[in-house]
Symmetry: C2
Subunit: 438 residues, 2 copies
């Protein structure tokens, strides 16, 4: 009878090799990232789960036919070597090949930045992601998600998992994927909006990290048809500024975590962390006006914010307040969904906001209608039939606290943080109008 | 100009009220869970984000028309009261109503266990989840997910987010939801299998928590058509027992976390934590035989494990080894997908396993084929066309380490842990053949 007890091996990381220092014997595994045969000696860059290390092999330890993307286990002695990346290398004493590729890589991973066009890069994504710079983006992304959960858990939020196959769209419009559900018409969730509001009635504060589906026909560098939403919703708020404060707290925590645990990846990407200690808030119409005045252009549509205007507002707060972030508040009602709470002082505007980061919207949030009669009236004003939303309106009917929340687009946040010029680079396997594979 | 700095308020929990002790003045908010007017005095149970507290109101502080599911803010003095649940109550000095329901609750939340039939319960889920016992299930579920992430992050796993709209199913068969993707045929992911294997080539160890879609026509107490998968995949394994060790380590960590931070919820549910310190492993055919011998029944199909047999095997390990868990290993090849690695000692079986928990499968995992030629041959043996899986096979072609992984069904794990008799009770808003709403 065999029993297991949950012993598991920790990995050896590059940092541990370096910390062990000179003359330290190590056994490590990884993929042959780059192999250079210098006659006599072979220099091998071993790609590890974290980092990569230069290894030097004398001819007698070099197996027949070793090639790039072989996976190996090797043991040897660590020694200082100022010419090696990181300052250390391993003098290999024994090397075992664990697996061999069937064909050489279509691109050279170990020789500086890849300069592929977008289509080629995305078609080859399954292997191109092995490039150290490419994968660094997704380590940073992991840090952003970790910080989100850790921060909100400490703030007494409960994590929830809500369905992605739904009977009605939360955000309205035609931008919704349809599917056949055992003969019934169903949709893919455009957001967890209805469900996270429902859960405020249960746990007061909830969050969810999950996929969001938008059947938008855009083909821009800032749109994906499937993305990862970082959503939270909280009850008993005094105003939507309570929501903004929690997001700001999250961003501060995220930047601290990245500064502490993801420095290698940030350096590889040349990414500078923004300061999230103090974020300015500007009303929608003030933000539009101030940027238009400063940069001398005319406002075309007083009720909408074009991507170009977001860039200008981003530049404005950068120059005026030294901030990479700005909360733009009080969006016009007609641009916000039916569950947004109108501003009682001027119902043409809502108690809502977007967060712009380096000139691009990365969050939409606000206070929601919690009163049943008010919500039904707002739906009827918009020509919606409340009868189609019975299970959602159940929460208003049976009592909801004043509440609000937001949704952050993880890929956009990653994109702007890493300085990428297309959101597709911030998605492992992006989905756009023409891309369903890999 | 307004600036925000990320100050956010912590919530007051019942525990803090109790810890503050006698004569402590507090201000708290929550929903009126139960209201009993005892002539003169009114007793009000305040449902908080965590826990609930009894509050006593003299007539002069009781607002006109206060009713259950009003949300309120109240302040008062904490005092010991042995007859109150938890031993403390608040003598209310001031109470403000924040919102009122439009209609009374369809069920009584504050009066002991709900005894609704499944259909009624699920139709009323948005408000029934406010019941303290109902919501406790999802706090326990949160603990299971938190432990999964925390444990794997400490073991150097990287969290990933992979697409749910896919061009090909990973698990084969007809149990797959189809959708129209801008005129192309697409599917909902039956598992993150291809993508998590791909990411082993990038980060060596990865995990994902996300929705999984199965268009199965089952109508059983153990099947959902959308569930939450806890998936991980790891490279450089010596055998699938390395995967089993990581899962065991996770389970131990999860039970420790639950014992530490979720005791209130476990007590409410009357749920006993299993011992995960030492889990027996039985080969598939041995497990079948031993249970059949002990309980005196005949094996119908030597290549399949019926739900009833899982129950018997669960009973067997409970009686023989005192274990709530058992790893059943070496499943027959014909019951496993094309990416499962066959046992070189007997290719009728695979290097794979299921974990049974209290007599029900909650995990499927194993070692995967990593060699390109071997994977192509196995697909061809099964009549599959490798050309349809080009972007998946790219990883094998360009080199993969020996690897394996698993997928845990979160709702089943929650169900068995909380002692529920239907997996639907372990899903906030379950999806089954007839249920698409709420």
């Amino acid at each position: 009878m065999k029993f297991v007890t949950g012993k598991s091996k920790k990995l050896t990381t590059y940092r541990e090799i370096a910390e062990g220092g000179q003359s330290n014997p190590v056994t490590v595994h990884g993929a042959v990232h780059l192999l250079r045969d210098m006659g006599g000696l072979a220099f091998l860059t071993l790609r590890m789960a974290r980092g990569a290390v230069q290894c030097v092999c004398a001819p007698d330890v070099l197996p027949e036919g070793l090639c790039e993307e072989c996976t190996v286990e090797l043991s040897g002695i660590v020694r200082e070597e100022p010419r090696a990346p990181g300052g250390y290398e391993i003098a290999v004493e024994a090397l075992t090949v664990l697996s061999r590729p069937a064909a050489p890589m279509p691109v050279a991973l170990g020789k500086g930045p890849l300069k592929l066009n977008l289509d080629t890069e995305l078609a080859l994504r399954p292997v191109v992601l092995r490039h150290l710079r490419e994968r660094a983006v997704f380590r940073v992304q992991e840090g952003l998600v970790r910080a989100f959960r850790d921060y909100l858990t400490k703030q007494d939020f409960t994590e929830v998992h809500t369905p992605k196959i739904v009977h009605a769209g939360a955000e309205g419009g035609s931008n919704i994927f349809k599917l056949d559900y055992f003969g019934k018409k169903a949709y893919l969730a455009q957001s967890p909006q209805f469900y996270k509001q429902t859960m405020v009635g249960v746990f007061e504060r909830v969050f969810e990290v999950g996929p969001v589906f938008r059947a938008e026909k855009h083909a821009t560098p800032r749109h994906l048809n499937e993305y990862t939403g970082l959503d939270f919703e909280m009850g008993y708020i005094n105003s939507f500024y309570d929501v903004i404060e929690v997001e700001t707290g999250y961003l501060r925590h995220a930047m601290e975590l990245l500064a502490k645990e993801y420095t290698g990846e940030l350096e590889l990407l040349g990414a500078a962390l923004p300061d999230a200690d103090k974020i300015p808030c500007l009303r929608f119409d003030d933000a539009k006006r101030l940027a238009a005045e400063k940069y001398g252009y005319k406002i075309h549509d007083p009720y909408d914010l074009e991507p170009e205007e977001e860039v200008h507002i981003g530049q404005y707060v950068r120059e005026e307040f030294g901030s990479d972030f700005v909360f733009v508040t009080h969006y016009p009602s007609k641009k916000r969904p039916f569950y947004a709470m109108d501003d009682p002082e001027d119902p043409k505007y809502t108690l809502s906001f977007d967060l712009l980061f380096r000139g691009m919207e990365v969050t939409t949030g606000g206070q929601r209608v919690h009163d049943y009669a008010q919500q039904v009236a707002k739906m009827e004003d918009r020509g919606m039939d409340p009868a189609g939303f019975e299970s959602y309106l159940m929460i208003h009917k049976h009592g909801m606290p004043p509440h609000g929340g937001l949704g952050i687009g993880l890929e956009r946040l990653t994109m702007k943080l890493c300085g990428l010029d297309n959101v597709r680079y911030a998605s492992l396997f992006p989905r756009d109008r023409s891309r369903l594979e890999p």
